[in-house]
């Protein structure tokens, strides 16, 4: 078996009632048969090899969760084929569940009131893990993270970070060929994020587990994923490795300028006013060129420039003539801006492809 996951032209449609407005409309809805069809996933195809870590990205409501639910056998695709471990997931949910691990957002799947080790023991029974495999796995866990001190702690008393950690370990416990992680680092502090990323990477390396990861945190992508798949409005926009993506946007650079002495002290409105001022200046001279403007957390104005259209230095010179600039920084395009760029103009990308 060359691929652990195969998706071929997968569609998923939902039937939604066309709602009418107002009180009268609500009464109409009671008897209405007026449905519209919403395409949550539209003609998605991908093949995933054993041991890959795939970042599955897209804005909220893009169809990520729907795809994952189809791969885990909870949802049935409207059209198309899905094979997971060579099996059709929705036709036999339990057999599929035996061979995957799932961590879904912030919803802990462990027994809320039980100490962690008791949850592990129950999972051992549920998945039929042999004594030896179970012991080996715990030894591996103990070598990777400080899990021992959590064993006797009930899940309800854990911090979010500890709970996420425990949930991830629980998902890998029966050594499934595939693990789905839905936003595993959401809401965690920086050091906990790093810990979770290292853990995922180590488990993937040690057990050659395929990991499908959805996230909005580009740190996760940079740290873990060799390959990313981007989806928006149900349609696949991109499927390739991350280096290819960056080189694709190689002509883009980010210009950061400081227009006030202490921009970090400005209010949100003042920051936006600064940005608008810069935007006006740039746009009046380079009317036909594309830029992306944003404010950083420290109050700097960031301008994403396509150097194949206009040289960055030219833009900077122009700004300096018109207003006082206190400081300047240049940055290569970050993964984050690349992804944002893709969401923003999916159409351009399609043309370029």
């Amino acid at each position: 078996m060359e691929y652990v996951i195969e998706l071929k032209n997968v569609d998923k449609e939902f039937k939604v009632l066309n709602r009418h407005e107002g009180l009268k409309g609500s009464f109409q809805d009671l008897f209405s048969r007026d449905y519209k069809i919403i395409k949550a996933v539209n003609d998605v195809s991908m093949n995933i090899k054993p041991g890959e870590i795939v970042g599955y990205l897209g804005p909220n409501g893009a169809g990520k969760s729907t795809t994952i639910k189809m791969m885990t056998g909870v949802l049935q695709p409207t059209r198309g084929e899905i094979l997971v471990n060579g099996r059709i997931p929705y036709k036999n949910r339990t057999a599929n569940a035996q061979n995957i691990g799932v961590v879904f957002g912030q919803r802990s799947q462990l027994w809320w009131s039980l100490p962690l080790i008791e949850s592990f023991k129950l999972l051992k029974d549920i998945y039929g893990i042999s004594d030896k495999d179970y012991k080996d796995m715990l030894t591996l866990y103990e070598s990777l993270v400080d899990i021992k001190e959590l064993y006797s702690k009930p899940v309800r008393q854990m911090s979010l970070g500890q709970r996420t950690l425990s949930d991830i370990l629980a998902a890998f416990l029966h050594n499934p060929p595939i693990v789905f992680l839905d936003e595993p680092t959401i809401g965690l502090d920086v050091s906990m994020k790093a810990k979770i990323r290292n853990l995922i990477k180590a488990l993937n390396k040690e057990k050659n587990t395929t990991v499908i990861l959805t996230t909005h945190d580009m740190g996760d992508v940079d740290a873990l994923c060799e390959r990313i798949v981007i989806i928006d409005k149900g349609t696949m926009l991109y499927d390739n490795d991350i280096e290819h993506l960056r080189s694709f946007f190689g002509a883009y650079r980010t210009l950061l300028i400081k227009t006030k002495k202490h921009p970090e002290e400005l209010s949100e409105d003042e920051k936006n006013a600064e940005l608008t001022a810069v935007e006006t200046i740039v746009k009046e001279d380079f009317t036909d060129k594309d830029f992306t403007f944003a404010t950083t957390d420290e109050g700097w104005c960031s301008i994403l420039i396509d150097e194949s259209q206009v040289r960055l230095m030219k833009v900077l010179n122009h700004i300096q003539e018109k207003m006082k600039v206190y400081d300047v920084r240049l940055e290569e395009i970050s993964t984050e801006s690349v992804i944002r760029k893709i969401y923003e103009d999916a159409e351009n990308l399609k043309k370029a492809n």
Partner: protein, 265 residues
């Protein structure tokens, strides 16, 4: 399909662990137990006061009524102890949290229901047993093997009915967004279970026998012990009905669960 032995062994382990963890919150455990006992005892008191004024209700004596009441308490214990998680179902469904029960290689109904063991029900069980024993003694019922066996079978059948009713009521949340009142209403019906069905007008008697079969929770099964001479023919089938009704409720629950996951996030 996994074997029955597998599920029993897992169920036993989950329940032991759950009870252990609940007992570790000692004051919480004791107070909720006492609360449940007080509720039941105060109802017994109401019975007693009522019978100070009336010698019998529709031909049912005080001690027969006590028996019926105790019987209904014990019959409701499995519902209270083992199926209490049904009360939370609509919250899980409403905020999408229910999906997490779909990722394990075991039956979804089993996984969901086994998650919680409500220790409050134990207090109810002891009050109920005490009441049955007291009424048994006062009514001078014979203590024979057949009688005890009949009592156990009758209790088993009776509890299935109430569990099935609440399963269906809980499953309504898969189909309706505001289903809380259905559970509350159905739960109210169990108050009627402790009266002989003959005190109700014929209309309700039919409803309580065939539509919402609460007459099977205490009335019909108790007749087997109390008045074996005047048992309606239906009674003999109540264990079979109980199993069938429970199975139907399970299918409805599972159907709802599969429909739920079909509606997306």
């Amino acid at each position: 399909m996994k074997r029955l032995g597998f599920y029993i062994s897992i169920y036993r382990k989950i329940i032991i662990q759950d009870i252990k963890s609940k007992m570790s919150y000692r004051s919480d455990f004791i107070i909720s137990m006492i609360g449940m006992i007080l509720t039941d005892v105060s109802e017994l008191l109401a019975f007693y006061i009522m019978f100070l004024n009336f010698p019998s209700v529709c031909g049912w004596s005080y001690h027969e009524m006590l028996f019926l009441y105790g019987f209904s308490l014990v019959a409701l214990t499995p519902l209270q102890c083992l199926f209490d998680n049904n009360w939370h179902l609509r919250h899980y469904v409403y905020d999408g949290e229910f999906i997490k029960y779909c990722f394990r290689p075991i039956n979804v109904f089993f996984y969901y229901i086994s998650e919680d063991f409500d220790t409050k029900g134990l207090g109810q069980f002891f009050v109920g047993m005490g009441t049955i024993v007291y009424a048994w003694y006062k009514l001078d019922l014979p203590v024979t093997f057949v009688n005890i066996a009949a009592l156990i079978v009758a209790l088993f059948a009776a509890s299935l009915f109430m569990v099935a009713i609440m399963n269906i009521a809980a499953a309504s949340c898969f189909f309706l967004t505001n289903s809380g009142y259905i559970m509350v209403t159905m739960n109210k019906f169990r108050d009627y279970a402790k009266y002989p069905v003959t005190i109700f007008p014929i209309f309700f008697r039919i409803i309580f026998t065939f539509i919402i079969p609460i007459a099977f929770i205490a009335y019909f099964p108790s007749l087997v012990i109390l008045r074996p001479a005047e048992i309606p023919f239906l009674t003999w089938f109540s264990p079979v009905y109980g199993i069938i009704f429970f199975y139907i409720s399970y299918r409805i629950w599972m159907w709802g669960a599969s429909k739920y996951s079909g509606t997306g996030s």
